[in-house]
């Protein structure tokens, strides 16, 4: 578990470096600079039956950076993390779910007097890790890639601070193989995120 935590930390740092370099590289002289850094907290509401039956709603935390590319078109990159312990519905076997969800995409901003309304789409490379008790411990990990659609409302606060009320829908599908006996099972990590972000806006 310690190694897993280190991997997650490394992923978050790597994402930050990537995002920061992207935003720095933008340097679009024709438009005003507008870069938004935010920390987020949300509720993940799964739509997939299996995910919902076992884990139901989960708390999700993340970081996101958004930078202007062209006029009202912005690029965004983010990382989300959630972890939840639960039990299977049939035999109440303990299980732990961990998801690191990266996101890279574009947002379209619609400014108003005190902030912006936005919507966006992107890709979502996702790292899934489950630790099940069957009753023997079974640790399974995999990477897969899905998509994300998001919309939100940014409310500007004094001192370049802002609040971001957002709603995301992400969908990730992968095929998992059980160890014993070998069986193929589709895994869907589909769901909604209702959350709020708080950040600083460079402009």
């Amino acid at each position: 578990m310690k190694n897993f935590n280190k991997k997650i930390t490394a992923l978050i740092f790597a994402s930050f470096l990537l995002i920061t370099s992207q935003v720095q590289a933008l340097k679009m002289p024709d438009y005003d600079r507008d870069i938004l850094f935010e920390g987020k907290a949300a509720v993940f509401v799964p739509t997939n039956d299996t995910l919902k039956d076992i884990y139901n709603n989960c708390a999700d935390f993340g970081l996101e950076v958004t930078g202007r590319m062209f006029d009202r078109l912005y690029a965004f990159s983010g990382v989300d993390f959630l972890r939840k312990n639960s039990y299977t519905t049939e035999l109440a076997s303990p299980t732990q779910l961990s998801i690191v969800n990266l996101a890279l995409g574009a947002k379209y901003f619609l400014p108003f007097s005190h902030g912006d309304f936005y919507f966006g789409v992107g890709i979502a490379p996702t790292f899934l890790c489950t630790d099940d008790r069957t009753p023997e411990p079974l640790h399974q990990t995999q990477w897969s890639c899905g998509g994300i659609a998001k919309t939100g409302l940014i409310v500007d606060l004094p001192r370049s601070l802002f609040l971001d009320f957002y709603f995301n829908y992400s969908f990730v599908k992968s095929n998992s193989y059980s160890n014993s006996p070998p069986q193929l099972q589709e895994t869907h990590l589909d769901g909604y995120l209702f959350g709020i972000g708080f950040g600083y806006r460079f402009h």
Binding site: L51, Y55, E90, D132, Q183
Partner: protein, 746 residues
């Protein structure tokens, strides 16, 4: 006349011998007065006059007269095995009962309340729910064991077809309902969160209804107009709504008062649905027109299935093993149906002429009278004189029975007494009252019939009753009495022995002087509880409750000479065969057989009915024993051998069941076969059971000790694969029974 009665009696005994084939030391009959015992389902006849309740634990079906809300009888048959569900044909002539335990369906003729046949078919596999088409031609039975639905042709009473679509559309089919027009059967797939649609014309699965709100669906009911079906979601605490015209889930009813909703029933007038909430012991009331919960009714305990009378006036609900009634106009719990007869039986005594047995129903303040010729409860002695009746003794001339009445624990003012019953009329004619009675438990009568001795547990004394005057004439008190329980008198009437569990001793009373003349103490005594004296007067046997043993007292020397060990837990009571060759010890779930010549345990009698047996009485000819069972509220009739029996070999377990469980994790599904069984009815007790995957008994899955839950989880099975399991029982000497086996496809 008396000679005729006696001749009839022995004719009946002879008939019983031939009918049952009489295997020595086996239970040949179970007397039950219909006491509900783990009832599972309810069905009401179309005329609304009678209600039938299968008793899963008693292997019978109770009959309730709806007009009086009283239990009027039982349907008993040896083919009943864990009866689960019941359905009655629309013409009210026949009832069909699924036998979960032996994969069959029993047919009951409603006119005679007799089982007229049993439908067996290889396709039956843990048959569970049953529904009959409105035209009465076909019955559909769900099979939990093989995820299928069997079809019974009612005209021929044969299982003709099998609707099966494993893993896709029928998965743990826990309930079934048929539309009023008889076109569609809906099957609730508990483990698939869906409902299968069976086209009755073609008997094929034409689709499934699935919806996000299905969550461990449990039961289904259809409105009388055939427009809507309602499905309870046990895990989702909601009720799903299916539009029958479109076969789609159109929504669900959520309410804070739904808690693990179990069963559902809709009133025949279509106005109201009732949902039992096992989680909070209530019944929710749903307005079918608005799909809104309008209230809930409390006062239940573990409410299960519901049935409503055809006039929609009364709902019947299984609650805590009883049958509760609801007035559907006021939606108020109006009471519980109390079943007469054997209830939590505590003691039993047989008249000297072997015609009648009396059973004290301790917690229900009455006595059951059993006609031994027919082995039925012939009468209930109800009288306000009874107050937790316990021990019974009958005078040697058979005219009078005395029953110890012990008041409740810690009663501020004790009303302990002894009730006098006139055996000729089966009436309580009076009580013997005395201030010295204090928690009287057991009674013994001298062979000359002049005196009765009553142990008083809570004041460490023995009261003396003069039988001709029915008056207490004295008290035997002694400092060595400690919580005296049981008392026995030697056949010559000279001495009484009293077991004192409070100080691990046995007191000796000289009957001539009514004085304690000695106390037997021995290191082997450990909560000595019951005491019995051999008919030759040579030995007394004393059960030691704490260390599961029996101490043997030599009456000539009043010393403990031997100890019999290795009794099962709960072994407290003891009975001696009339020829003194066999000792019977009633344990927690069996009757242990002890060879009195060698003083060794030579076997045990096991039967589902023998659950906390608290007393046993044996006919004077020694052929049959009657055991009062507290937990099952039954009296087991045991055919006894008159001489030392040959130990029976260990028998294979029975009622093997297999259920496929799909323990679904996010990334994979663990397919598990849950194998369960019950002990054999006869033969020595098993020490453990071994479960194998092959007929050669080489692939051992697990060993299960007999004291634990008799089930095995075989994990990580392959999908769509047939597995066959074999189970053998092994006794303490390592003897292995033959195997039983059963197959299942995952």
């Amino acid at each position: 006349m008396k000679k005729i009665r006696i001749c009839l009696f022995y004719l009946c005994i002879f008939t019983m011998h031939n009918f049952f084939g009489v295997m020595p030391n086996s239970v040949v009959d179970v007397i039950s007065s219909g006491f509900f015992n783990n009832p599972q389902d309810i069905a009401i006849t179309s005329d609304g006059l009678t209600l039938y309740v299968p008793n899963f634990n008693n292997n019978n079906v109770s009959i309730v007269d709806i007009t009086t809300n009283s239990l009027t009888g039982i349907v008993a048959n040896s083919n009943f095995s864990s009866p689960q569900s019941i359905a009655i044909t629309p013409d009210g002539t026949t009832a069909y009962v699924t036998n979960y335990g032996n994969d069959s369906v029993s047919i009951i003729d409603i006119a005679t309340n007799a089982v007229t046949g049993t439908i067996a078919n290889p396709n039956f596999n843990s048959p569970y729910a049953i529904a009959i088409t409105p035209n009465g031609t076909t019955a559909y039975v769900t099979n939990l064991g093989n995820n299928s639905v069997s079809i019974i042709d009612i005209a021929t009473n044969t299982a003709t077809e099998l609707v099966v679509d494993v893993d896709t559309t029928v998965t743990y089919p826990i309930d079934i309902a048929i539309t009023p027009d008889g076109t569609i059967a809906y099957v609730v797939n508990r483990d698939d969160n869906s409902v299968s649609i069976i086209d009755i014309a073609t008997n094929t699965v034409t689709g499934i209804v699935a919806g996000s709100n299905f969550n461990l669906p449990q039961a289904i009911a259809i409105t009388p107009n055939g427009a809507t079906a309602y499905v309870t979601n046990n895990d989702g605490s909601s009720v799903s709504i299916i539009d029958i015209a479109t076969n789609s889930a159109t929504g669900f009813i959520a309410d804070s008062n739904f808690a693990l909703p179990q069963a559902i029933a809709i009133s025949p007038n279509g106005a109201t649905a009732y949902v039992s909430n096992i989680g909070i012991n209530t019944v929710s009331v749903v307005d079918v027109n608005t799909n809104a919960v309008t209230g809930f009714i409390s006062g239940f305990s573990g409410p299960l299935n519901i049935a409503i009378t055809p006039d929609s006036a009364t709902a019947y609900i299984i609650s805590d093993g009883k049958l509760a009634t609801i007035n559907t106009e006021t939606n108020v719990l109006t009471g519980f149906i109390l079943t007469p007869g054997l209830r939590l039986s505590r003691a039993i005594a047989i008249t000297p002429d072997d015609t009648t047995a009396y059973v004290s129903n301790g917690d229900y303040n009455n006595m059951s009278v059993i006609d031994i010729a027919t082995n039925t409860v012939s009468e209930i002695i109800n009288d306000s004189l009874f107050l937790f009746p316990q021990g019974i003794a009958i005078t040697p001339d058979g005219t009078t029975a005395y029953v110890a009445n012990r008041d409740v624990d810690f009663a501020p003012v004790r009303n302990d007494s002894v009730v006098i019953i006139d055996v000729a009329t089966n009436t309580a004619t009076g009580i013997v009252a005395n201030s010295n009675f204090n928690y009287p438990l057991n009674i013994a009568i001298t062979p000359d019939g002049t005196t009765a001795y009553v142990t008083n547990r809570d004041n460490n004394s023995v009261s003396i009753i003069d039988i001709p005057t029915n008056a207490v004439t004295g008290v035997v008190a002694n400092s060595n009495f400690r919580s005296p329980q049981s008392i026995a008198i030697t056949p010559d009437g000279s001495t009484a022995y009293v077991a004192n569990p409070g100080n691990n001793s046995v007191s000796i009373i000289d009957i001539a002087t009514n004085a304690v003349t000695g106390t037997i103490a021995n290191p082997n005594f450990s909560s000595p509880y019951a005491i019995a004296i051999t008919f030759d007067g040579a030995k007394a046997y004393v059960t030691n409750y704490e260390n599961r043993s029996i101490s043997i007292i030599d009456i000539a020397t009043n010393s403990v000479t031997e100890k019999i060990s290795g009794l099962p837990s709960g072994a407290r009571f003891i009975t001696i065969a009339p020829d003194d060759t066999i000792i019977y010890c009633e344990g927690s779930g069996s009757v242990v057989i002890i060879d009195a010549l060698t003083n060794t345990v030579i076997g045990s009698i096991i039967n589902y009915s023998l659950y906390r047996p608290l007393a046993m009485a044996i006919l004077s000819n020694g052929e049959f024993g009657y055991v009062a069972n507290y937990e099952t509220s039954t009296v087991s009739v045991i055919a006894l051998s008159s001489s030392t029996p040959t130990p029976t070999p260990i028998q294979a377990p029975s009622a093997m069941q297999i259920r496929v469980i799909k323990n679904k994790f996010l990334q994979y599904t663990d397919i598990i076969n849950l194998v369960s069984w019950i002990p054999a009815d006869i033969g020595p007790q098993a020490l453990y059971y071994s479960v194998y995957r092959d007929a050669g008994l080489t692939q051992l899955i697990s060993t299960v000790y007999a004291q634990g839950p008799l089930e095995v989880l075989d994990r990580n099975r392959q999908p769509n694969t047939t597995y066959t399991y074999y189970i053998v029982a092994v006794d303490v000497d390592g003897n292995i029974s033959s195997s039983i086996n059963k197959s299942i496809t995952t």
